[in-house]
Symmetry: C2
Subunit: 404 residues, 2 copies
């Protein structure tokens, strides 16, 4: 491939990398493109975390044939190493310089950096040529290192990496750095968003629900049902974000009614039902898709398929699908978990109760999806049991609160 | 510049575009790079909204000399046009094809598209060559159109756009499309996040605060003070996101105390003070910077500079700076707005009260920043007056609620 073709390819790679917003997919994609671009047999991608490098991905055509893909760098997973100039990737991370090494075993003893042959020894592999490239952002910050191993000559031989291509690979690594930085920022923002929604939703329900895990569980059940109904990954994520706010309107119901022990009078129950319309009023008129969904869910999650629910007695397809999904998840969680006034219903009995509600309380399609997702539902049920609160970071702080 | 240099430049542009995350800056940058790349005297960038094209930016070196920059496309601002094949940009948006037109006034009458000379007539300008390029995402979707006007030959003449560069410009436009799409998604996500925080914070304070605008105003005051203290744009944004949650802990204070008319007993006041530690418990242990900030603020916004505040009687630099900022904003808003038990203090008198609190209740540096930001504070005060609730979309729904 001549230089012009390489350059054209480089811009195409830039577009492909920028288009991938999932961090894990992006890491794989960066290394694959860099290897393909340089005809490298293998490679490793490290990201920088403060004064450390974290191993992220390794790929190796020769070893994956021998060991099966995914196994070539297993021992490295979750490993970090300090950034010092004595290792090759550390040197590049510290200096921002490219290292183009014809033979890993012929590095002069006078060099600051040394080749670590652990990978070779463990895998019975022979590293020869190496190209170690910094992933630099626009401002010059190194956010990762690409280490490419064994350039192929196309005739079965291993050759040094072509010096002429160094600036191109550096450019590829910069495009990768920007794409990765963007994807990580988006990921962090989404995590912060989800964490915030969860915390505020938990706080809002704090007066009448014993444990914070209810919100967590209910939203995970909802997402599992949505997935089983064929929602896209984005759609599932939106249900996950929107469902925690289903009972947000309880904030507008007075302590006297919300915390009353025993049965509510008709008049009190009428007040209690208002949490649906109050929730809708809180979430009304938003532009964000996730809040529009929350609005639907808050308003309609107590409607029933046969029209016997509240606040409007809507039925079947007049109830938004999001609310029909959450109705199943919410009732299932209420049945299967402990409340101050009742013991938990055993898992299988609660599942049976949901099945029996199909066509009456629930949309039969949502119940079918619930059934389809039962393995996932059960693992959520187990992981987030009522006693597990403390082990989940998000909800760890909540038991310290004293209820009013 | 030869093709190789052009290609190198193209990858640099790709990196520059991907690095810009502010949508408005990015729109300007895309057009500027595309014009520079093609030596175009002027250009216009449209984005697609459903079946319409929205005018976004126009740049023209000749007209900006004559009219002053920023005035060259003024009449176009906020204008949209339907996507039909009869206009040049509409044709490109609809078909995804590049149009390379040597002379705008010599388009054959048999062509599907026509040149609209309104811009030329209004500005006494003469368009000759045109290059109209679709901004295509990876999946082929056209999300905008770049219209480049009058290629310069470097000797003062206008020439047709070089056909050889068409694929390069198309590639540049694709890089731009991906960057723009990413920036818009991030923008939408941030908006959704802010909207959600605001709504939930408003809901949480709903029991004891008359109007939702308090939260809105208080967070804007806090951001204005942070800005005057020299915070970066990111830092200001974080204060804006974090401050609405300062009183979230009131959710854990019972109606009996929170809604009691008249003075609280010592014991009741001790309960009331717990809203700081309850808020901190809700927000504790989060990873997201904005939530860590909310935690600090919730816990310490009632501490005072001289150590006479609560919950811990911390003083001076022991109080997080975020909480010192919010303390000023919160007290100023409480003073200057109406409450069910008091009329509002006039603006100037409330400002005076803040100044008098410097070194006692408040950090003198925060009061100085408050003073420095006074013009901005006053415009927030005016725009979000207690009576203005209905005009702000976010809070429009809130007055419909009935308080418990």
């Amino acid at each position: 491939m001549d230089l012009r073709e390489q350059l054209v390819k480089l811009t195409e790679i830039g577009i492909a990398l920028s288009s991938e917003r999932n961090v894990n997919n992006l890491l794989d994609l960066i290394l694959a493109h860099a290897r393909n671009f340089t005809s490298a047999e293998g490679g490793t991608l490290f990201t920088r975390e403060g004064d450390k490098l974290r191993f992220q991905v390794t790929q190796n055509d020769v070893l994956s044939e021998k060991l099966g893909s995914g196994n070539t760098g297993k021992y490295l997973r979750d490993r970090t190493m300090p950034i010092t100039k004595t290792s090759l990737s550390g040197y590049t991370a510290a200096t921002g310089d490219v290292l183009n090494i014809p033979d890993a075993y012929a590095i002069p003893a006078t060099a600051e950096y040394h080749f670590n042959d652990e990978y070779d020894r463990r895998n019975n592999y022979r590293t020869r040529s190496l190209l170690v490239v910094p992933m630099k952002k626009m401002d010059g910050e190194v956010i990762g290192v690409l280490q490419l191993i064994n350039a192929r000559d196309g005739k079965g031989g291993i050759v040094p990496f072509h010096a002429e291509y160094e600036p191109l690979v550096l450019s590829l690594a910069s495009q990768a750095a920007v794409a990765l930085n963007n994807a990580m920022l988006t990921h962090d923002l989404k995590q912060a968003y989800l964490d915030t929604i969860m915390r505020l939703a938990i706080a809002a329900e704090f007066r009448d629900t014993d444990t914070a895990v209810h919100i967590r569980r209910m939203s995970l059940y909802s997402a599992a049902i949505a997935e089983a109904m064929g929602y896209t990954a984005d759609g599932v994520e939106q249900i996950l974000y929107a469902s925690p706010m289903h009972d947000i309107g309880k904030i507008g119901v007075s302590d006297r009614i919300l915390l009353k022990p025993g049965k509510l009078t008709d008049e009190e129950f009428a007040e209690m039902k208002k949490h649906t319309t109050i929730g809708a009023a809180i979430l009304e008129g938003a532009e964000a898709p996730v809040l529009r969904l929350s609005y639907e869910i808050a308003l309609a999650h107590h409607e029933k398929w046969d029209g016997s629910g509240y606040p409007y007695g809507k039925k079947e397809a007049d109830i938004p699908i999001s609310a029909r999904i959450v109705a199943v998840a919410d009732v299932f969680d209420a049945l299967s978990s402990v409340r101050c006034y009742k013991p938990p219903m055993p898992f299988d009995k609660a599942v049976q109760a949901i099945r029996e509600g199909a066509g009456k309380h629930f949309d039969p399609a949502c119940v079918a999806a619930f059934d389809k997702a039962l393995t996932r539902i059960q693992s959520i049920y187990r992981e987030y049991s009522d006693e597990s609160g403390a082990k989940h970071k998000l909800t760890g702080a909540m038991p310290a609160l004293t209820r009013p």
